[in-house]
C-alpha cells in the first residue's frame, strides 16, 4: 500500500491549510497520516520538530482509539490539549489522516473549531482521491 502525492494534490492541500491558518490565526497546521508520516504543513512554527510531532500524534490517536474501544466507541475523532499558552487540536479526517492545529492565545478554541469544520469537507474530498489512487494493486 503506497501513497503518492502529486504536485497538484499538494497544491490543493496547501491551499486549504493556508486558508485555515489565515482565517483562524492558528500558528501552524499539519496534515499527517495515521502511521505518523507528515504529509503537509503550513504556518509559522520553525522551532518545532515536525517528524516527532507527527509520530507522537499518530501514537496519541492510536492510544485514545483503544480507550474509545474500551468505552464502546469506535474512536474519538477529535482531541484537544490545552497548555498555558500553547494549545493543540487534533481532528481525524477519514480513516487515514489527522489534521493537527497548533494555536496560542491570539485566537480561541471556538474560532479554531469553526474554521476546521469549514475546511474539513474540502480536505476530505482531496484526500479521498489521493487514497483512492493507492488502491492500484502494485505489490
Amino acid at each position: 500500500m503506497n501513497i503518492v502525492i502529486t504536485q497538484r494534490d499538494l497544491e490543493k492541500i496547501d491551499f486549504c491549510l493556508n486558508k485555515m491558518v489565515s482565517s483562524s490565526l492558528a500558528q501552524s497546521v499539519l496534515l499527517i497520516d495515521r502511521s505518523g508520516q507528515l504529509i503537509a504543513h503550513h504556518g509559522n512554527a520553525p522551532a518545532i520538530d515536525m517528524s516527532s510531532l507527527s509520530a507522537l500524534t499518530a501514537a496519541n490517536f492510536g492510544a485514545t482509539a483503544e480507550i474509545a474501544k474500551i468505552l464502546g466507541e469506535e474512536e474519538f475523532t477529535l482531541l484537544f490539549h490545552k497548555g498555558r499558552s500553547e494549545n493543540v487540536y487534533f481532528s481525524a479526517i477519514g480513516e487515514h489522516v489527522i489534521l493537527v492545529t497548533l494555536f496560542d492565545d491570539r485566537t480561541s478554541l471556538g474560532v479554531i473549531r469553526l474554521q476546521i469544520n469549514k475546511i474539513i469537507d474540502e480536505l476530505s474530498k482531496i484526500l479521498s482521491t489521493i487514497f483512492e489512487k493507492k488502491k492500484v494493486p502494485i505489490i
Partner: protein, 208 residues
C-alpha cells in the same frame, strides 16, 4: 507504506526495530542518535517507564541523502518488548516498510527470541503483510558478551532458531559498543529502498 512525495522528490520510510524485552532495540537507536551528525537527524523521542523500559516506542528520524534523485528520510521506531504490550506493538507496526529483528544472544533469552519472532509474523499477518516478503534484517545483538561469564548462543544456533526459514541477511552486533549497528541500518535501508524503487517502477509502468 512508503510515503513518496514527488513534488519534494522525497521518500519517507518507516523502519521498526522489533524483538523481545531487553534485547537492545532502544540501545540501537541511542547509538545511532549519539553518533550521527546534527544536520541529518531529528530529536530522539522516547516514551518509557521509570525503569527505562520502553512503554510505547522510541522514535528517531534520519535523512540519509539521495538515491536516484530522491531524498531518503527514514523514521526509526522501536516497540516495547514485553509480552503484554502487544496492542502497542501493533500500533507501531502500522505503515511499516521494513523490520529489524533484534535477537538476544543470551542463552537464557533463547525462547523469548523465538516467541517474539512468531509474534512479529502474527502481527504483520494481521495487517496483510507476510514476514517472508517485507524487507527484514535480523541482528544478533550482545556479541560483545562472548568470552565473558554470561552464556551466549553461537551464531549457528541463532541462525537455526530464527533464520532457517526466512533466510534474510543477519548481522552480529553489539548495540552497546556500536559494532554492527550501522551495518544493520545500512542493510535494512538498502532493502527498503530497493523495495520502494520496485514499487515506483511498477507505478510508472502502470501510468504508461
Amino acid at each position: 507504506m512508503p510515503f513518496i512525495n514527488f513534488s519534494k522528490d522525497e521518500i519517507q520510510c518507516k523502519i521498526v526495530y522489533y524483538g523481545a524485552g531487553f534485547c537492545g532495540k532502544t540501545t540501537n537507536l541511542q547509538y545511532i542518535f549519539s553518533t550521527t551528525m546534527e544536520d541529518i537527524k531529528g530529536k530522539m523521542v522516547s516514551i518509557d517507564t521509570k525503569g527505562d523500559r520502553t512503554l510505547f516506542f522510541d522514535f528517531l528520524s534520519l535523512n540519509l541523502g539521495k538515491i536516484r534523485g530522491f531524498d531518503i528520510r527514514v523514521q526509526l521506531y522501536t516497540v516495547p518488548g514485553q509480552v503484554h504490550y502487544d496492542a502497542t506493538r501493533k500500533l507501531v507496526l502500522k505503515g511499516v516498510d521494513g523490520v529489524v529483528f533484534v535477537g538476544d544472544s543470551l542463552k537464557v533469552q533463547r525462547k523469548k527470541n523465538i516467541e517474539s519472532l512468531i509474534n512479529l509474523a502474527k502481527n504483520l499477518a494481521e495487517k496483510g503483510i507476510s514476514i517472508r516478503t517485507i524487507p527484514l534484517v535480523i541482528q544478533y545483538n550482545k556479541r560483545d558478551l562472548d568470552g565473558t561469564d554470561s552464556e551466549i548462543l553461537p551464531i549457528d544456533v541463532l541462525e537455526k532458531d530464527l533464520n532457517s526459514m526466512l533466510k534474510v541477511p543477519t548481522i552480529p552486533a553489539s548495540a552497546l559498543k556500536g559494532m554492527g549497528v550501522f551495518e544493520t541500518l545500512r542493510e535494512i535501508t538498502k532493502l527498503v529502498v530497493k523495495d520502494v524503487s520496485r514499487k515506483i517502477m511498477l507505478l510508472d509502468k502502470q501510468a504508461k
